[in-house]
């Protein structure tokens, strides 16, 4: 399965090149997306919602360029910045964002400017005719999402922005709402950015995947290709930075630990997981903030996993600094997150030899 074509300015192609200064870090996204559904994934706080709000025109501080289907909505260099009400972008936030003082019908009609046929079509697509007289307070989570989706569709948007429409719903309900989304995709054929934490949804709906981390694009491509990498798939879902495939070596029930050998060629001791037999394939998951960095050989430390390594790169990510260190011997890389103060105090820089320490209980097997 190849990359969907996104060249030229074909129907609904979304060109994004924006910079949004915000505390605590800046969002910087460059992407060229096809006129279909793009799944936007990444850990919490990676800037997904900020990206959607910027596209909708709700972030006045956004700089750069945004074009949808050839219409330039934002081009700060050229002094172009369409007001949100002129952009015709349908935005459905995570909690549906229905107006509590209006009935479902009042909500759906809100932005339709009297275009009754669009309202009717939206009502039919989402099958909400039976809900129209009710107020949002009396609707279930799934019903709210359908009404909000209909409200966005009824405005004839040029682009649809859906912020985790299924996140607030339980698993059973998710499966019942998903067909509506497939239907919107197939019947309305709108360019769409779809924020989700769910790999299954991304694969089912999206033609393209945009993975964000700390306000930057970490990966972009066909969902099938990107999510075929277990590490990326898990990162997209869990937001854990260090994901290392390996195999269980042995258990030490008395010591309360399990030894795992990473495929990259080093061993890690983790909290006892007796249900995984020796030889079982597992993935070691360690958050970057759980990796300690020392500039001298450490002794007498409770952390069981200490590795000599060399810093390959440092990058400012949000308020912190993420450093990539290559373990001596194996050549495997680990990401560690430290404060800028620690970088200064320890004189951390590329090429410097360090020791990385990971507590057994900071390691999860996923």
């Amino acid at each position: 399965m190849g990359d969907p074509p996104a060249g030229g300015s074909g129907p609904g192609v979304i060109e994004i090149s924006i910079d949004v200064p915000l505390a605590p870090f800046a969002l910087r996204v460059e992407a060229r997306l096809p006129g279909a559904i793009t799944a936007v994934m990444g850990p919490s706080g990676s800037g997904k919602t900020t990206l959607l709000e910027s596209l909708a025109g709700l972030r006045p501080r956004a700089r750069g360029r945004v074009a949808v289907g050839g219409d330039v909505l934002l081009d700060t260099a050229a002094g172009v910045s369409w007001r949100p009400e002129a952009r015709r972008i349908g935005y459905v936030p995570q909690d549906a964002g229905l107006f509590p003082h209006l009935t479902a019908l009042g909500n759906v009609r809100f932005g339709a400017r009297g275009d009754a046929s669009r309202v009717e079509a939206a009502i039919d697509t989402l099958e909400i005719r039976g809900l129209l007289g009710r107020y949002p307070a009396s609707l279930s989570g799934g019903e709210k999402q359908r009404v909000a989706l209909a409200r966005a569709l009824a405005t004839s948007p040029r682009l649809l922005l859906l912020d985790e429409p299924l996140a607030a719903l339980d698993v059973g309900l998710r499966e019942r709402i998903l067909p509506w989304l497939v239907r919107v995709r197939d019947e309305w054929r709108l360019p769409c950015l779809y924020v989700t934490h769910n790999v299954g949804e991304a694969l089912a709906l999206a033609a393209r995947l945009l993975l964000l981390r700390d306000g930057r694009v970490e990966a972009e491509g066909a969902p099938g290709d990107l999510l075929a990498s277990p590490a990326l798939a898990r990162e997209a879902e869990t937001g854990i930075e260090n994901l290392l495939p390996g195999r269980v070596v042995s258990h030490d029930a008395e010591g309360g630990v399990t030894r795992v050998r990473a495929d990259a060629g080093f061993e890690m001791t983790v909290g006892l997981v007796p249900d995984r037999a020796a030889g079982t394939a597992v993935t070691l998951a360690v958050r970057a903030e759980d990796v300690l960095v020392a500039v001298e050989a450490v002794r007498g430390l409770s952390a069981r996993n200490v590795y000599p390594a060399r810093i390959a790169a440092l990058e400012r990510t949000g308020v912190d600094v993420t450093l990539r260190a290559v373990l001596e011997g194996s050549g495997a890389a680990l990401l560690a997150r430290v404060t800028p103060a620690a970088v200064r105090a320890l004189g951390l820089e590329a090429g410097k030899g360090v020791w990385l320490a990971v507590k057994s209980h900071s390691v999860r097997l996923v």
């Binding site: 003082h101 809100f110 932005g111």
Partner: protein
Amino acid sequence: MLTAEEIRTVLFTLQVAGLATLVILPFGVAAALLLARYQGPGKGALETLLSLPLVLPPTAVGIVLLHVLARRGPVGAWLDARGIEVVFTGKAVLLATAIMSFPLLVRSARTAFEEVDPRLVGIARTLGCGPAAAFFRVTLPLAWRGVLAGAVLAFSRALGEFGATVMVAGNIPGKTRTLALAIFHENQVGRDDRALALAGVTVALAFAALWTTEWVTRRRAGRGRA
């Protein structure tokens, strides 16, 4: 019961309080919205300034107004040159009550506006509303109870305004004498029975205003609102 003159005083008081409330409504709503949404520098100072009439002695406000509006005062001279007289007229009563009631409207309306999720306003914008349309279609319908409560509080405060009014408008029967001033006057001339009768009227008026608000807001709140 009430004499014809007392009834005129009651009507004059109602008229002034109602007019003062109407006059401050647009400004108070604008100020409340500003305080609810604006987050930049100077917010604290603005907040304090708008609340000052709540804590100042009304007579202090009155004496300042008197000197600003007097024929030789900075604003009074300008008005006098155009043949407009304010001090010791009904206009002065209106001005004094409006200024003293303003903070009550702003406080209540501001709390109501702060409770409106700004994201709903953003969504209204994406649905084609300009800022004014978003205010009238989303913010105000969600906050009207607080605005109404603030307006009633302001009206009730205006009914009872005494200190600032007496300084800048005097206590002229048939011209600037409101209920509050009439009560004081009757007491001063030794007719406490009349003062008490008028006090009863103020209690009834304030009670009616507050109770109506309570009733209206509670009744409408039952309707499908989260």
